[in-house]
């Protein structure tokens, strides 16, 4: 199952400045990869994080209204449905960003901050019954959640648990994918609002760290939380490989990072996100399922592969991308990569009711094989081609 690849990183050996009359043999390649990097930064990465933060702002507004309704004892069934839709939209953009978890998402721990699982139910229960800490959440909101709560008490999955219905089976919370009943306690609604405010602030931080700016509404949310944005200007660094202030010495290095990010998430989807539930044999293994309350697992997996698609092919029609460079070097390889991406998405979307049927499910096995094939072709063929 595991593959051997040949990849020698010439980034370790080059670039060599040329004297007058010499040949800069890497310049065409660098120019081609530079063309690929700019739309990747702007139209794939920043656009995804921007949309994710936008969805977060909508969700935040809905959670504020839910708290208001809970406090007043009014009905909020429609609001809960709307909030669920916003959560799913925000989640979609996040999953479509998982081919670029390197950089700010990793360096500033935003990935574990917003996407850790399983939830710590014991700690959550203790928190919800701790009047002192709940009063602080009510007063400080996302700032308290962000600073004082562990990763297993915040982020997407804590919000998911409070936004979607779950029933108790064998002493464990099992999600149905339906909206949470309108029976949130005041403490739960306060906690939900704090989680979502922190989640949205983290999404804004991601956008800012790559773009170096965000709109006024987003900036205001950071200021309200007294949160200093990260001045990485990571997008600038990637688009300006070789310049002072960039961590990338060459565009080749930047392109290798892009593809390595794709390989990383493909491996995770195949071996862990789908692989662990597939080989699971006990009820405990249900904990491997990442979005168990919204039941969006297969949507998450497919969006992960779309993240690869956007990184490799470009997110918008006409975008230059790594694919263009690969096509110029080996058109057949590029065609095969694109087909492998499509096949992986199609196989994932064939899976029915993943949350309850993953174990030994042939549809899951077929999807694992397709995603593994994608990991393999990127790892064994695309990366070596870039590194030649």
């Amino acid at each position: 199952m595991k593959k051997k690849i040949l990849w020698i990183s010439l980034a370790t050996l080059t670039l060599i400045a040329c004297e007058k009359g010499g040949t800069e043999v890497t310049s065409d390649k660098e120019a081609a990869l530079q063309q690929a990097v700019t739309p990747y930064v702007n139209n794939t990465v920043i656009a995804t994080y921007c949309a994710m933060a936008d969805a977060g702002i909508t969700l935040l507004d809905q959670c504020e209204q839910i708290l208001d309704k809970v406090t007043k004892g009014e009905d909020y069934a429609q609001l809960m449905k709307d909030a669920d839709a916003s959560w799913r939209l925000m989640r979609k953009h996040w999953e479509q960003s998982e081919a670029f978890l390197y950089g700010p998402a990793s360096a500033h721990n935003i990935d574990p901050h917003i996407d850790s699982w399983p939830l710590d139910f014991n700690a959550m229960n203790a928190l919800l019954h701790d009047q002192s800490r709940m009063a602080q959440i009510e007063e400080e909101g996302g700032a308290y959640v962000g600073d004082k709560l562990g990763y297993a008490l915040k982020g997407f999955h804590a919000a998911e648990y409070l936004l979607f219905e779950s029933v108790i089976q064998d002493g464990r919370a099992v999600g149905t994918g339906k909206p949470h009943a309108t029976n949130l306690t005041h403490a739960e609604a306060v906690y939900l609002l704090g989680i979502v405010e922190d989640l949205t602030q983290q999404a804004i931080l991601l956008e800012y760290a790559w773009a170096g700016e965000v709109n006024a509404a987003k900036m205001k949310l950071l200021e309200e939380g007294e949160i200093e944005p990260y001045e990485d200007k990571y997008g600038w660094q990637m688009m300006n490989a070789g310049k002072a202030g960039s961590i990338y010495v060459t565009y080749q290095e930047a392109a290798e990072e892009i593809v390595a990010g794709c390989i990383d998430i493909a491996g995770e989807v195949a071996d862990l996100k789908m692989g662990n539930p597939y080989i699971s044999s006990t009820a405990e293994e249900r904990d491997y399922i990442e979005s168990p309350y919204s039941c969006t697992s297969t949507t998450d997996f497919a969006d992960n592969i779309r993240s690869i698609q956007h990184a490799y092919c470009g997110a918008q029609t006409g975008d230059h991308a790594v694919s263009n460079y690969v096509y110029r070097q080996d058109a057949d390889l590029d065609t095969r990569v694109r087909k492998t991406i499509d096949d992986a998405i199609a196989a994932i979307e064939q899976i029915e009711n993943f949350e309850n049927t993953a174990q030994n499910n042939p549809q899951v096995k077929a999807a694992i094989d397709k995603v593994s094939a994608l990991e393999e072709i990127l790892n064994d063929e695309v990366l070596p081609l870039l590194s030649k």
């Binding site: 990849w7 980034a11 050996l13 710590d120 600073d147 405990e284 904990d287 990991e375």
Partner: protein
Amino acid sequence: MRKEFLFMALATVALVACKKEPTPGPEPETDLPEWYYTGGKLGTTTNLTSMTFRQPTPATENAGLGTMFAQGDQIAEKPFVTNETGRQHGLGPVYVRSSCQHCHPNYSHGTSVPAGKYDAENVGNGTLLVVINPATQAYVPWLAGMPQLFGAAPFKAPLDPDQITVTWKTVQDEHGNKFADGETYELRYPEVKMPNTAVYVYNQGYRDPDGLLESQGYEVKLENTIGVYGSGLLDAIPDQDIIDQYAKEAADGKLKNGLNPAFWNGGFQTTGYYKNDPQWGPKRFTYALTRGPIMDAAGANAIWNITNVTRSDRRYHYLDLNGTIYAEYASKDPEVQAAFGTEQQIKDYLLSKELPAEMTDDEFTQVMIWHRGLAVPAARNVTDEKVLKGKELFTQIGCDYCHRPSWTTGPDEVRDPNNFKGFTAAMPRYPNQKIWPYTDMVQHKLCMENDIRTGWCRTTPLWGRGLHKKATGDAYEARMHDTRARNVIEAIMWHGYSSESDAYWPTQQFYKLNKEDRDAIVAFINAI
């Protein structure tokens, strides 16, 4: 899932070269130097992206252990939780951190500690708080050697990190922190402030017989993690070769402080063997050289005592050094009693040696395959003239005496002092590999301001450390045992801060170099 990028089997690679007169025909080729393969061909990854420290070794993949490596990686990455069942359950009752990743961001060493409140919640802060009796250099008995900073309700944290602060102080060396050509550097070191009120048992009425709490006479230091990668390769160095290194250094007589007598005193000491037993070989892991074979070394220990997640061979909790002080005072705490039970029930739980195993044997095996299977990044820029010049100077001025460049591994039989259900059979192995860790595996003294506990510190391997910023996003390189050095220059100059340092002479040779040569050494150290 982290992927291995197996380097080219052929030992040559086309050089991208610039020529005054372009000539047709094949590109010139050059041999990759053997020091390119830092972990040998079975232990090196050529993935030099920000995920470099997360890659499996070729040996791991060759052995068909890739999936188990990925599963171990996931256990190490995800936070443990206080749930009583399910994945990652069992955190607490008290714990230092909730995941491996907290102290080893992207499996690098911990990131630079900022001034201000000690932020233990932040992934990246890999420092442990070392609380000692300055007179004896021993850990205080009322905390663990690695004090826990969190409690799982209803239990309270033995130390409250919110009350602990770090201040950075600066000092000047004999050169006024300035090279002859005017270039300056800064030497800073951390001071940690911890009031008694941060100590749970103090707040509950405990007073130690030495009076350290009453007089606030204890000292608090920082001790940073090192990267996890490459541990399996160091484990494979033959015992006798390490003992020979001690013998060589003893015979040379070059070290101002000699050798730690616990290891060498006219010959290799029994106390230098792990568990005082030659069958487990010389202690080779941790700054303090407290651990032997990796199967019972820092990682195997940490996955249990950092989280307090029990497993079948450790069905008890890691509490304080004394063993009973925390349990004594927690059991009398009315808030704990209200939530948990009687004083006796609390004591029985905390002090039990027969708790159920929270981590399964399979999970522990996966963790150790991951631990032993993490690759070392290949050296970078190995044909760069500046790097090559630095390599030459590194040896010329004597850095390589303690930062011994290479070792050759033995048959790598993989030993486990705990005999954990024969799981050594499953481990990736690295027989007969020439590896380049740049450490002599021996302790020395640098005699720095606010030095490491006892002053003795194993020479830290330099391999891969030049990629720390890229892998973690750290603003600094976070070198030395407490992250005091923000870059290579600061790290080198700390080596010669005191004339009593074992590394004083080579540091002065470095000081005398011109800027171009100093920069060459820095480039080399960042390339290895």
